[in-house]
């Protein structure tokens, strides 16, 4: 069960809130102070990408962020509700290529920042899963 779960409507103004919440929970979980900037940036990138996917595909469901304290790590999942690998182009002809490029640049930043990263594209949407080590309980 996640320590904190956050659902927000796919609006750019809420991404900042997600960043602040994730950083606060990560700090409490014991993530190294020096890594909190990375957490903030990585969560922001993942949420911006999800917001872009929802908006470009007309998905009205919220974006979901799960923050979980585990025994020796702190993990974050950002889930979108856009089926398949939507980053490959929008189904209506890819008119919003710029937005897709931004999503890809976001992923590039995340992979540069996060050592433990998994990107899952499923039938019901995508999940970006990342974690940072913590000292343990």
């Amino acid at each position: 069960m996640p320590t904190v779960e956050l659902l927000f409507s796919a609006q750019p103004e809420h991404v900042r809130t997600a960043r602040l919440v994730a950083a606060a929970v990560a700090r409490r979980a014991g993530v190294d102070e020096a890594a909190l900037d990375e957490v903030r940036l990585a969560v922001g990138e993942a949420c911006s990408r999800a917001v872009g996917l929802h908006r470009n595909n007309g998905v009205e469901d919220p974006v979901r962020v799960r923050l979980t304290e585990e025994e020796k790590k702190f993990s974050i999942e950002v889930a979108d509700e856009v089926p398949g690998n939507a980053s490959g182009g929008s189904p209506d002809g890819g008119e919003d290529e710029a937005a897709d490029d931004e999503g890809e640049m976001g992923l590039a930043v995340i992979s540069g920042l996060v050592d433990d990263l998994e990107v899952i594209e499923g039938e019901n949407g995508g999940i970006i899963r990342m974690s940072w080590p913590t000292p343990g309980l």
Partner: protein, 113 residues
């Protein structure tokens, strides 16, 4: 923390002082500012990022877009930044090779290459 923008000119350079957070929500304001400057004929821009607390890939995209616009007019776009956490984002994306990054506005204004 929202985005703050102010501009001033020094010789043929236009300094854009940016403060606050540049993210998916605020980046469009920076984009508008850069587009407006280029449309008004300012082709040599110095973006002072010393007051920036947060920058993400949307912000990087806007800066790259600005660079593309000024280059179309044989202009330049220089950055001023000393903050390690912001510089890191330019490094991991390889954009340190694309933007001249200076330690002060004076240095950026004096640069000619």
């Amino acid at each position: 923390m929202d985005l703050s923008l102010s501009t001033r000119t020094v010789g043929d350079r236009t300094i854009v002082e940016v403060g606050g957070e540049i993210d998916v929500y605020t980046a469009p304001k920076l984009r508008e500012q850069l587009v407006e400057l280029v449309n008004d004929g300012s082709y040599h821009l110095v973006v002072d990022m010393e007051g920036v607390d947060f920058l993400d890939s949307t912000g990087l995209g806007v800066l790259v877009g600005g660079l593309k616009r000024v280059r179309a007019h044989e202009g330049s776009l220089r950055l001023v930044c000393n903050q390690e956490r912001i510089l890191k984002i330019f490094r991991i994306t390889g954009l340190t090779k694309v933007f001249p990054i200076h330690t002060s506005v004076d240095e950026a204004v004096a640069a000619t290459d």
